[in-house]
Symmetry: C2
Amino acid sequence: MIRLFSTMTKKAKAQEFLLKTPKGTKDWADKDMIIRESIFGKLSTIFKKHGGVTIDTPVFELREILTGKYGEDSKLIYNLEDQGGELTSLRYDLTVPFARFVACNNLSSIKRYHIAKVYRRDQPAMTKGRMREFYQCDFDIAGTYDLMVPDSEILNILCEGLNELNIKDYKVKLNHRKILDGIFEACGVPEEDIRKVSSAIDKLDKSPWEAVKKEILEKGQSEEIADKIWTFVQHSGSIREVIEILKKSGIDNATAQQGIQEMEVLADYVEAFGIQDNLRFDLSLARGLDYYTGLIYEAVTAASAPPKNASELKKAKGEDEDASAYVGVGSIAAGGRYDNLVGMFSNNKSIPCVGISFGVERLFSIIKQRTDLSKLNSQHTDVYVMAFGGGEGWNGFLKERMHVTNQLWKAGINAEFLYKAKANTRKQFDGAEKSGAKLAVILGKEEYPEGKIRVKKLGQGEENEGDVIAIDEMVSFVKSQLQVDSITKAIGNL
Amino acid sequence: MIRLFSTMTKKAKAQEFLLKTPKGTKDWADKDMIIRESIFGKLSTIFKKHGGVTIDTPVFELREILTGKYGEDSKLIYNLEDQGGELTSLRYDLTVPFARFVACNNLSSIKRYHIAKVYRRDQPAMTKGRMREFYQCDFDIAGTYDLMVPDSEILNILCEGLNELNIKDYKVKLNHRKILDGIFEACGVPEEDIRKVSSAIDKLDKSPWEAVKKEILEKGQSEEIADKIWTFVQHSGSIREVIEILKKSGIDNATAQQGIQEMEVLADYVEAFGIQDNLRFDLSLARGLDYYTGLIYEAVTAASAPPKNASELKKAKGEDEDASAYVGVGSIAAGGRYDNLVGMFSNNKSIPCVGISFGVERLFSIIKQRTDLSKLNSQHTDVYVMAFGGGEGWNGFLKERMHVTNQLWKAGINAEFLYKAKANTRKQFDGAEKSGAKLAVILGKEEYPEGKIRVKKLGQGEENEGDVIAIDEMVSFVKSQLQVDSITKAIGNL
């Protein structure tokens, strides 16, 4: 290494490349890290409360595991180089690895949560929280259960998570793949075109009907079919309201009927959980992923990405007040039922699954915006150990500071000292301030050899001289002086 | 998805590939996950105690960042496929990304910890805990400080970590790159061959001198040079003992002298921390990585991989008892000083660093072996909500169970119920047992409509009928009945 730097040529080389993280990725540090860890903490507490266990799968999977699961978005999968051996790709979500895990371990049921990074070679939009490497917090229930029971608990967890994170004004948009596919069938879309048309409809939250209609026509459907679809997908409201609309529409398609029945059951259960007011049945919700088979949902909030300009805002505040406030907004959590994914990995049996994925980066942006960052300190130091002295023969008490700090560490107390043999008072106080320590333990040139030590509360001005106590009593005295960790408090208030 | 399965051809296709994780990777779940999370928890508590803050860097870096940092092992780096855009590779360790982070953010000092996965295309040896994807727990101190002060704190953290994890009989082998390089110089190894010879010497913990000597000769050194090297590298003992040996050897090489002086300073500090008995100065320790510039160390324990058979064991128990017990054993933690790595990313300034990396998989194997797995439950459920009834008009109280469970959730209590509309008693008790719940909250067909509920301790036999209480009092009653979480206890005892 040193030799690498002994010539100017090599030295120059170090600057030839850009010093940065890869496109669409970022480092997390400092106060951002505190906020993110608090999000993880709150969500995993909820996941555990609902009986969830956690698992961890490899960051890459055999490429074949991922193939054919993500529809049009499959092109965004990151492949590892073929360096001999197996072909592998970075995971695109946590759902497919979960299904693979359930199949691998031949499980018949599990409630699992998984907090980990996923990878998509998308066009990054950092300000909107769209990254190429990003975290997902997933909770999924696998197992054969009564209709809509786990589904309603998942919706409950979704609402609980957003409430706990203090996200205001969110709405959970719901739809059902069987209803949507039934509508497409009833409108005359051939079976093989259903997913394509569905992915066009999914864009209705960002684009006007005219643009979406154009895409449907481009995808080979007639104008008549497109217009028929529009008579359905413009409807939204409470679950019971939209069920009424669908019934009145006279749609007698068997697939749609089955979906409507399921939604009726769901309406009962979400009332038992008291979450019906957070939900909105929206027939235009389609979700891009191929693997959904039943209920699908997506939580949106106006706060996550407000319309860019006044005219857009005005337009957004149009006829349908409820829905419009969330137009053009990325989802902050999403999921659905996928009953056939595990079966794709295991022909013997199909394990029905339903789950929710929280988008951490988007939640993070909202929470950071409203957090008082000055109250956060990423260091957890409670005590700073110093030595005061000077004059002839003063050696700085470095070994003594090490010894005293070590006593604090052994007692489980978070402590630091300055890494200098002879440390002046100013630098030690600077170090203490930077560390966020609440107490100083001071070794005085005269006091310490007499078996005494000074304990001083920090941030209380010069006049406070602190307490002089026997070294033997230091640990218990320091413990009594330390208040509840202020960082814990700050995190609690996020 | 459904269509994929509608033909036999497609169905057969699902079985064509192996259902597994990629070579050298594994899923973590269940009790293993509890043990691993407890290791992470204990280590991060220690890291925070020493003033550490945590960061998170992307799992892949620009390929150029990793190039030229790992010596012979660079061939083990995983590359991502060139899909257009930047060339990237999975991180090989957490140290180079840390140095890149320090340079990127223009930091002059930081104590950081980082717990994350790293990737090496090595030949996996799962039983020994050598994987292609594995976790590292790193703590590093960056900044310009007095000689050996942060280094000794890092050694203290290393010992504290292993003690806290209750690892018995470990030894921390120490050496100094300046001493090692000075020895090679003094023995006549040309400067350009030093790293090559060094990496041969590093194999002395696994191979006999004859094999290592052969490699040194193959690497172009004379027999005389090799034999001279042997007169040095066979020595080990306490720091002060080996310093004496080196001084008596009359080595007057300037590089070695500087290293010896630093080791003398270190000897004082490790005594101040009281950890000298865990350390062993071993002149054969070389460490493979290119970037080390000063003190290097590696913790080994006989428990991590005992010799395979009796004859090996006998051989290992040879002349040098202390060292022999650890022969052939992979390291459980390792690190060193690397003063030039940050400078490779930033020509303006070089930030000296020193750090330690705990090898989680190897620690995990040791800890799992001695853990009573029957005491661990990966679910955190405290209460199972049931309904008892039957006969005509009995609807199973599903919505009522949902409502009651929701009240518990809202009060922060971990609770579950069976996802069946009409659930029989046996199945509900089975569900409760599987969940590990301590209490059952029972909705009786007659009691519940009267505003009453039954709370029963689980695992106490049929005769225990539980307490009948008013629904309004349920939350406070349940809270008072719940003891300290048994899982927390079990983890505490790992």
